[in-house]
Amino acid sequence: MAELLNDIEWSEPTLSIVHDLEWESEVKADIGRVMDVHMRTSNSKWLRKTILKWPRYEAQEFPRKLADICILVAAQENACRYCYGVARSWMRLWGYSKKMINNIERSVQMAEMDEKERAFIRFCRNLSRSNPTPPKKDRDELIRLGYSELAVSEMAFLIVNQCFVNRVSTFLAVPPMDDLERLPNSFLGRLLRPLIGWKLRKMGWTENRPLEGDPDSFPGVVQKLLGLPAARAMNDTLEGALNSDALSRKLKVLMFAVVANSLDCEFCKEETHSMALECGFTEEEFKTALNTLSSVHLNTKEEKILSWTRETIHFQNGPMQSRVKELAQEVGEPMMLEAIGIASLANSTVRLAVLLG
């Protein structure tokens, strides 16, 4: 059951802030302010970049209102206290009424919305929840209601993009932005709402650079997004994550495979199988690693991370945040940060593939 803002369990941050002045000035130049989450992810180059860009992704193929709703619904379904608070405040500053936000949160009075909006919200909830696995019938329903296949692919990307940010923020237990949450109800906030809303909209980001190269050479899930700015965004993040050296490639492939197996995604199971053979596993070694969550190619710390990966699929905030803290002490914070990024990306990629694959 989706929880409301103040019911969400949330602990103290699990990893510490790391100051990187060059990175902080880059963030400031881009969005005007360095937030807690940018400092807590600064140790991983691909992760910090994704966290800076993805939450501001501007949808091209469907109305902005739906994209706004998606941010709120995904944060609520994933019970991310930090993202939920931000999404709620952004929506208020963009001019949505408290009543409308309440109705979306409680899934009530949906009769006031049109059929397409209701179908979209259902799609958001089901894909974010992914329990059971993301239903293709919701996707088909959206196409039946008149959205193009490209629009539905972009919707799916936007949802899993939010799921990625929600997971990273939850695993890090990023402190809620109290000042931003207070703003919509403050005198100043009410007075300057149109101006602040406009400024927030200006922070939107879209990937303008086209994805170049042979389409067949891209990861399968990226191929499903071709024609959208999301394709480049997804490809760059996957490339950055797989090429980063904070964790071994073998462990990263296994982490993706564990999520693919848990969500029973045939498409990703095949892809991770080929990737595993490419990076040096034998057929038998890969099978054993998946069965036992241990491998001759992994050390004890890596095996602990692999076991933890399966817990990232469905979890409760409190126990998960305690677990991340414990594990960070055992494997070290840089390794844990990278693991958080990879596990969150694996969850998003596989969910997207289940739907589009």
């Binding site: 059951m1 929840r129 329990n131 059971p132 029973d264 998946l290 069965n291 036992t292 004890t300 469905h314």
Partner: protein, 263 residues
């Protein structure tokens, strides 16, 4: 004069309209309050209902028009039962016995949940737990055996607590088996519940009963053994005929885990 009458009529009409609007507004406010109240009640009900039925089932029932139709799925069944419980009940005050039992259930449920098991039923002093019943779990067999090993440790700890209070120590038997069961909401319109039906449940219960015969605490079947890797230290037990089976059942006792590799 006519003008005044017209103005009066318009005034009365406007006043009437205002009254109607105000009335309607009041009614809307009342309805909204009622809706909020009903929503809060529904949310509370969902929370309380969660203690009796798995959360996933509640979500399915509240979010869709269709019932949670029973489906066949492969699950690993863990059945745990206390040894000598009936005799213990005769010797201990009922209120103390309830406290001992509740403490035992609390400890065991915690371990089972940690290992991705779902406590489906508490039958007297027995616990029926399923792995992989509500969502796909490729590691259900390992999870169940690991849970059993941790239950052994948890019982040791709980026994220390009981000993300190001068209560007798508890001993359990655990049977683990895997197979396809029918899982879903079953029953009729008046009374229905989430449950599982199938031969693997009976086999797990029979295997649990064999722990007394083999004088051990954790027994697994051949179906479980073939899915385990060499981390688990197993010892084969002599095959035994059990009720309802034409072939003798081969079981293994789980001794523990081999030592971990170096960091």
């Amino acid at each position: 004069m006519d003008m005044i009458i017209y103005i009066l009529i318009i005034g009365v009409l406007v006043a009437g309209l205002c009254l109607v609007i105000l009335n309607q507004k009041k009614r809307n406010q009342k309805l909204e309050k009622l809706l909020t109240h009903t929503n809060e009640k529904l949310e509370r009900l969902q929370i309380h209902f969660g203690r009796f039925t798995p959360e996933e089932v509640i979500e399915h029932l509240t979010d869709s028009d269709s019932a949670f139709k029973p489906t066949m799925r492969p699950v690993t069944v863990l059945f745990a039962d206390l040894k000598g419980f009936t005799k213990m009940c005769e010797e201990i005050e009922p209120s103390d016995m309830v406290n001992i039992l509740n403490g035992y259930f609390r400890c065991m449920s915690k371990v089972l949940t940690r290992h991705h098991g779902q406590v489906t039923e508490l039958i007297g002093d027995g616990i029926l737990s399923l792995f992989g019943a509500l969502r796909n779990n490729p590691w259900q067999v390992q999870d169940a055996v690991m849970a059993a090993l941790d239950m052994r440790l948890a019982l040791e700890e709980y026994n220390k607590e009981l000993k300190a209070k001068s209560f007798p120590e508890l001993a359990f038997g655990i049977g683990i088996h895997k197979g396809k069961v029918l899982a879903g909401v079953m029953g009729n319109y008046e009374l229905s519940k989430f449950g599982v039906v199938g031969d693997p449940i009976n086999v797990a219960a029979r295997v649990e009963a064999l722990t007394r015969e083999h004088d051990t605490d954790i027994l697994i079947t051949e179906k479980i053994k073939v899915e385990l890797d060499n981390r688990f230290v197993l010892e084969p037990m002599p095959p035994v005929m059990v009720k309802g089976k034409s072939e003798p059942v081969i079981t293994y006792t789980v001794k523990g885990l081999q030592k971990n590799k170096n960091p």
